[in-house]
């Protein structure tokens, strides 16, 4: 099957980034946090709200559990009185960053010049002290329908369980170990110590990790990201509108959106890989750059194994070699060959749900990382988000 060769995403740039206050539990109006992030991104680009002619967000009107969605597209459009030529919102897309990819295509197609993208969560406050909420109901009257009927009746109401089974199969086939997974959590925590916005900043040792409470083997508590409150926003601009803005543009080199395997967790053909296999291959088919050209990787770690899986999918190592690649954490350290999750990732900087990775990619490419800035003038970054049957990725660069 031939693939379309026109690469509209190359007409797009990321020209503004913004974040709200971020915290474990802020008990603030999530729409207020969302608008804070959106206004910050617009100002960062050097634009006014009246310049925004497109809007894109994830996941739209989805009941994903308490605090999963801090604001819908219509709420933000109305609250900011945006006059839009194009807008889109929804969960059935290529992962959380699929919403940004759609914005890239909209500006590439000439439907908009400056698209505001946002993702807003308030899971920390919404879940109060009760721990992470299960997906779906826990009451006797609730009935599971759609895809959830194939997991909830089996007491499997969390992606922790679903992804743990992929990790367990990877361990079984390739000899991957918990000590190797630990490198993802420890790397994130070390980097978070240099990120004032991060949630968890105290040091984390391998002993701490191995002693942590088990959730779903092989995942302990420290393999699971931390629910938080906060919003992240981007401005995606058409290239000819990007050059005279406040910052040098970060160009979108290529995007990956493919899903060739069945769109399912348990029916996916290969239980050691996920949709990231297809999305990552798609990304490399749309650029002349190679994995060896990537200076920094900001890679989804909602559960630690997802980062390992993305590293393999993106070709930074062979499938099955993720464990040895990560072992000891030297390769993914800020001084290593592939600095990863330099803000702390979702494991330590908070579950900003995909958008935090692209935010950090832009921060690093601009050289604005402060105490956590990667040395060596990074020019090419990959941002990847999602797991299971919903994955998407972007390759971004600066001149």
């Amino acid at each position: 099957m031939g693939r379309a060769s026109e690469r509209l995403e190359k007409r797009s740039c990321i020209t503004g980034i913004g974040q709200s206050e971020i915290g474990r539990r802020l008990f603030r109006d999530p729409l207020e946090l969302t608008i804070d992030a959106c206004r910050a991104a617009i100002a960062d680009a050097g634009l006014q709200p009246s310049d925004i002619d497109g809007l894109s967000t994830y996941p739209g009107m989805l009941d994903g559990g308490p605090g999963f969605n801090g604001a819908n597209a219509t709420e933000v459009q109305d609250a900011m009185r945006l006059e839009l030529d194009w807008f889109d919102s929804g969960v059935e897309t290529s992962g959380q960053l699929g919403s940004v990819i759609k914005a890239c295509l909209a500006v590439g197609a000439g439907l908009a010049n400056h698209v505001l993208c946002f993702r807003s969560v308030w899971e920390g406050s919404a879940q109060k002290g009760g721990g992470r909420a299960p997906i779906g109901g826990g009451s006797a009257a609730f009935r599971a329908s759609g895809s959830l009927q194939w997991t909830l009746p089996f007491a499997a109401p969390s992606a922790a369980i679903w992804i743990a089974m992929f990790a367990a199969r990877h361990f079984h086939e390739f000899g991957t170990t918990r000590e190797q997974l630990a490198a993802i959590a420890i790397n994130g925590r070390r980097n978070a110590a240099r990120n004032p916005q991060a949630i968890y900043r105290e040091p984390l040792s391998l002993d701490d990790y191995m002693a942590a409470r088990m959730i779903s083997w092989p995942f302990c508590l420290l393999d699971c990201d931390v629910p938080c409150d906060g919003a992240t926003a981007f401005i995606v601009s058409r290239d000819e509108r990007a050059s005279d803005l406040r910052h040098p543009p970060v160009r979108v080199e290529a995007v990956g959106t493919a899903l060739h395997g069945r769109p399912s967790w348990d029916q996916f053909d290969d239980l050691t890989t996920m949709a990231n296999r297809d999305a990552a291959a798609h990304l490399w088919s749309r650029t002349d750059l190679k994995p060896s050209d990537v200076d920094i990787a900001q890679i989804y770690d909602g559960f630690s194994f997802l980062a390992l899986s993305w590293l393999e999918a993106l070709g930074f190592c062979e499938v099955g070699e993720g464990g040895p690649f990560l072992a000891g954490g030297e390769r993914i350290a800020p001084t290593g060959e592939l600095p990863m999750n330099t803000h702390g990732g979702q494991l330590s900087a908070g579950r900003l749900h995909g958008y935090g990775f692209l935010h950090e990619a832009v921060v690093q490419l601009r050289g604005d990382g402060g105490a956590r800035q990667v040395a060596g003038d990074p020019r090419v970054a990959v941002a990847a988000a999602g797991g299971g049957n919903t994955c998407g990725c972007l390759l971004v660069s600066r001149d």
Partner: protein
């Protein structure tokens, strides 16, 4: 065979498409939709065969024998449910390894579960005013010999 203790479970919403699956246990049958002309087994059930396009798609019982492809031992109390820890697994049915189920492994200790282990279906009956449900769980096949 019926599982001995019945924990709280979130029950599925029955539909015309799924009732044969969730109520097959009444006859002790694990049923999947299957295309008449081409024989492809389809799960989750769909009304049209994705391979040959036939609308002749109907539920059919399989042996109930399967193999564990992967599993996790879960220690976290997400919601009311089985006693902790419990095993969640993905199994493939013997008739077609492309047909999987997420399920629980019962009838053995969690530490005795292995990838590749042969298992056999066992149904857990949940009476319900909207239509009784039989949840298909799996236990080690050798326990039934």
């Amino acid at each position: 065979m019926t599982a001995t203790s019945v924990p709280f479970r979130v029950l599925p919403e029955l539909s015309d498409r799924t009732a044969s699956f969730w109520q097959g246990g009444e006859q002790g049958e694990l049923r999947f939709h299957r295309c008449g002309p081409c024989g492809m087994r389809l799960h989750p059930p769909v009304p049209v065969c994705p391979s040959c396009g036939s609308h002749e798609v109907n539920p059919e019982a399989v042996s109930g024998r399967a193999t564990i492809l992967t599993f996790t031992t879960n220690y976290q109390a997400w919601m009311p449910g089985p006693d902790l820890p419990y095993v969640v697994a993905i199994i493939a049915i013997d008739e077609d390894p492309r047909v999987r189920l997420t399920t629980n492994i019962v009838g053995c200790r969690p530490e005795d579960v292995r990838i590749g282990m042969p298992v056999q279906v066992v149904f857990e009956h949940h009476p319900d005013p909207d239509g009784d449900i039989w949840i298909p769980l799996f236990m080690p096949a050798e326990e039934l010999v």
